[in-house]
């Protein structure tokens, strides 16, 4: 091993970060952090996450929610975010989204279908603690947290609550 294995900490004479902002990194720390950056195979939902994370993502979402299957039973905010839609209604929206997805021929309709899929799925978990899709729990949690990170309120809270519902919030 080298004589001195201290990792870099910016300019030693004038640290570029406050001590409480970023402590020194060991190789074990670097290993843990490197694994965070592996993206894995591209998921279809990544297109939706990318669209939502654009500067006009909130406006776009608002348009989709007011015109797509999510508006079938009334205003999306009340029905989905506030929990007024019944579990059966949420299932119905999700089912509609599946056929929409199968028949979609352009990126915009695929994105609309994904909104209509994941929003009721999250609402069912948040308001009824019920999973209405067959995706593995771990995979679903990751997707829901990703969606929570790129949406504004009230959607962000709905997705994050759904992601950690029924769990001990360990991860």
């Amino acid at each position: 091993m080298p004589e001195e294995q201290h990792p870099p900490h910016g300019d030693r004479k004038k640290p570029s970060l406050p001590e409480d902002a970023l402590p020194e990194l060991t190789e074990a720390d670097a290993t843990r952090m490197l694994s965070l950056a592996i993206s894995g195979p591209l998921r279809p939902v990544d297109d939706l996450i990318e669209r939502l994370s654009r500067p006009d993502g909130a406006k776009w979402l608002s348009r989709v929610l007011s015109a797509g299957p999510t508006a079938a039973f009334g205003a999306a905010r009340e029905q989905i975010a506030d929990g007024k839609a019944s579990l059966e209604q949420l299932r119905a929206i999700k089912q509609t989204s599946k056929s929409l997805l199968q028949n979609s021929k352009d990126p915009q309709s695929r994105l609309t279908a994904m909104v209509s899929y994941f929003f009721p799925v999250a609402a069912a978990l948040t308001h009824y603690d019920e999973s209405i899709c067959s995706r593995p729990r771990e995979e679903l949690e990751t997707v829901l947290l990703d969606l929570a990170a790129v949406t504004d309120e009230p959607w962000s809270s709905m997705f994050s609550t759904a992601a950690l519902s029924g769990e001990d919030a360990q991860g």
Partner: protein, 225 residues
């Protein structure tokens, strides 16, 4: 410098900056010094050339000598090597030049006749140091972004969860947010960190399709430390 020397598919950031000349070239040199100085010092410490001087001085000397050469980065691009390998090769030549120059003047007692085998090799040590250096740099960039966007609290949550290993539930108590909110805050910063780290690997020469493989290779190296 011809515009075709840096195709847009690879090395975009460095290629564009070098093409700008002046300030752009200075930004590239600054990036190289920030990310690669420490890995090169680690490499140097693992070689039999340690008698040549202090690692920091030797690496600074290398940068001063080589980064000023007009074709340094275009030659790298043509080589198809990762930037860290290109720098390491250049550094070896530089050490060889120093060795020859110093042997003429150094007293015989300063020059080691042999050095015991080092495990791991200097190359492996440099790769490990590189992994730590780019993680560090990506964290600095993510931190700066959080600071400029008023997400200081998000940064703290990210650090406490991913770096210190606190659970979201424990974070909720410590930071006064719900576990779900803590998860989202950490996720938001993790996206910034991921983007920065992947961009740094792209600057090192990894193509878009190679970045995951590069990360796995670095993980392999650091996890066997």
């Amino acid at each position: 410098m011809g515009g075709n020397e840096f195709p847009t598919t690879q090395n975009t950031w460095i290629g564009q900056r070098v093409h700008e000349g002046g300030g752009g070239r200075a930004a590239v040199n600054q990036h190289v010094m920030r990310v690669y100085a420490w890995p090169l010092q680690v490499y140097f410490r693992g070689t039999r050339d340690r008698w040549l001087g202090e690692p920091e001085d030797i690496v600074h000397g290398f940068f001063a000598d080589r980064l000023a050469k007009p074709g340094f980065f275009s030659d790298w691009q043509k080589s198809g090597l990762r930037l860290r390998r290109w720098l390491m090769n250049g550094f070896c030549f530089y050490l060889s030049e120093l060795r020859h120059a110093r042997r003429k003047t150094a007293s015989v007692s300063l020059i080691p006749e042999s050095v015991e085998d080092e495990t791991p090799t200097p190359e492996e040590q440099m790769d490990r140091a590189f992994a730590v250096a780019i993680v560090r740099q990506a964290m600095e960039q993510a931190y700066e972004q959080c600071r400029s966007e008023g997400l200081g609290e998000h940064w703290q949550v990210f650090l406490k969860h991913h770096y210190q290993g606190m659970t979201y539930r424990a974070l909720a108590g410590a930071c006064g947010v719900s576990p779900a909110r803590a998860a989202v805050m950490a996720r938001t910063v993790a996206r910034k960190f991921r983007r920065s780290l992947r961009e740094l690997l792209a600057r090192d020469g990894a193509g878009p399709d190679e970045i995951d493989r590069e990360l796995e290779s670095l993980l392999e190296i650091t996890s066997h430390a």
